[in-house]
Amino acid sequence: MGCSRSKEIQGGCGEVTGMESIYTALSNRPVRDGIRRTRENLSKNVKENLKKYPFLKKYARELRDVKLKVINDLDFWIDRSIKKLEENGARVFYARDSESARRIVAEIVGSGKTVVKAKSVVSEEIGLRDHLEDMGNEVWETDLGELIVQVNNEKPMHMIVPALHLSEDEVIRILERVGIKGKNAEECTDKVRLFLREKFLKADFGISGCNAFSAESGSIFLIENEGNIRLSTSVPEKYIAIVGVEKIVPDDEHAIKSIMVQSAYFGTFPPSYINVIRNRQPGELCVVFLDNGRKSTDEILKEQLLCVRCGRCHLECPIFQLTGNVWGGETYGGPMGMGWSAITSGISSIENEVFLSCLCGKCRIVCPMEINIPRIILHLRKLAVRQTAK
């Protein structure tokens, strides 16, 4: 039995490097406290939402089947979506990887422009903000939490609650750097509102991601609570949406179901605002579909594409609870971040991180899409081990 391998195995694959940051995160109490606070608030809401609106569970199950169908036939659905958008008069682009996505958006925007951004994980994935800034544009994150993180020059600590690790006092000090002076959360929020109003009004471009895309009508569906997405997608004359191809669902009905499920499982339901954009007349609508590894996943990893990005698995994960988004790849952290990082940046981006999971399986239980995340993590371990054994 056993030791058939003659070559010495080094690390998961190679040395365990880049893992120092998780120890730094571990000693950073506010991360933990912030996650705990967020979890306590939201978990309670999720439970109540599901009890009050029993149809949500039905939606989630149905959505899983429908999304699976789309993911198994992505080319067909991408094609159909592009045709519909062109019919509606939109400019449509297709980006194979993050570099080409950056290039496409940069070409549309040019330089010397003002850009307002809705919080979008997919734009983090392609490193869009930095790129547009490097091209000489003024780029503003307009989600309050994301703006704080932008000004503080750090990575969002959670997909949906980016600044959960910062205290009110810290936020006050951070915002002062861009001249926003408030004495507490309420004042800061109000000052940010005024500060960004001016940016919205002078912006040449609005950019957002997409929570769900309907191939039937060619519409982009977005949900939010603050109202910044509504402003970003409507006020500037030109609007660019970046759509991960896995966001496509066949019709408007399932797009609505998808955003309902996403917000309910995150913990704010109903969302304050729903925005559905079919065309932008007057003005211009540009849609960039992004592949970046999504179309070439293996059978096990593919399940991660069902994800509606509700952020539930993060908050319930024992490792994420200690480290926040530090445990993961460049963009995607936490349980879903293992699969997502592997899909979008390759397995080497999380070859050590995958070994830190307990495989305790809570993520699978809480996931509305019933994604078998521990199976994905285990699969990535196997790939990492096999890679080194070669």
Partner: protein, 158 residues
């Protein structure tokens, strides 16, 4: 999209609500209150004019709009049109009038009714609101009026 089919479907739902209007309105009102919105039910069609006058006198940044549809629970009001979207997003106080007959039994049919109207009017955007704008991004503290309206008031006209 088969518009006639859509119209028939909506008629069916309308009938369903009409037969049990009191109960539907009651649930609708409670759902809105749960999202901290202000609600008022009236049979006076003049009420809209009254609000318009109030706003003009008030001079503040308020807006009165007609919703195109609404779902009963969770209560979400749908509207169409880019111009209207911008002006409601910019307002401090959004007063929204909904005719009882446009209240639909679920979110999907409410969306469909708005979709139908948007197609008929040639509007490219549909938007829904269920409360005032809010955020909890700073230490989990709930603050109203992040980027959008600080107050959201719904007037149901029977």
């Amino acid at each position: 999209m088969d518009l006639n089919h859509l119209r028939n479907e909506i008629e069916e739902k309308r009938k369903m609500v009409r037969e049990d209007m009191d109960r539907y309105i009651d649930i609708f009102v409670r759902s809105l209150k749960a999202s901290s919105s202000e609600v008022e039910v009236t049979t006076d069609p003049e009420v809209v004019e009254k609000y318009r006058r109030d706003i003009q006198e008030d001079g503040g940044n308020s807006i009165v709009t007609f919703a195109d549809s609404a779902s009963v629970s969770p209560a979400i009001l749908f509207f169409t049109g880019l111009e209207q979207e911008i002006s409601t997003a910019m307002a401090d106080h959004h007063i929204s009038v909904i005719l009882a007959e446009d209240i639909m039994p679920d979110v999907i049919s409410a969306y469909r009714l708005a979709l139908l109207k948007s197609i008929e009017r040639g509007h490219g955007v549909i938007f829904g609101s269920s409360s005032a704008s809010k955020t909890a991004d700073i230490e989990g503290k709930l603050v109203w009026g992040a980027h959008g309206p600080k107050r959201f008031r719904v007037v149901v006209v029977r």
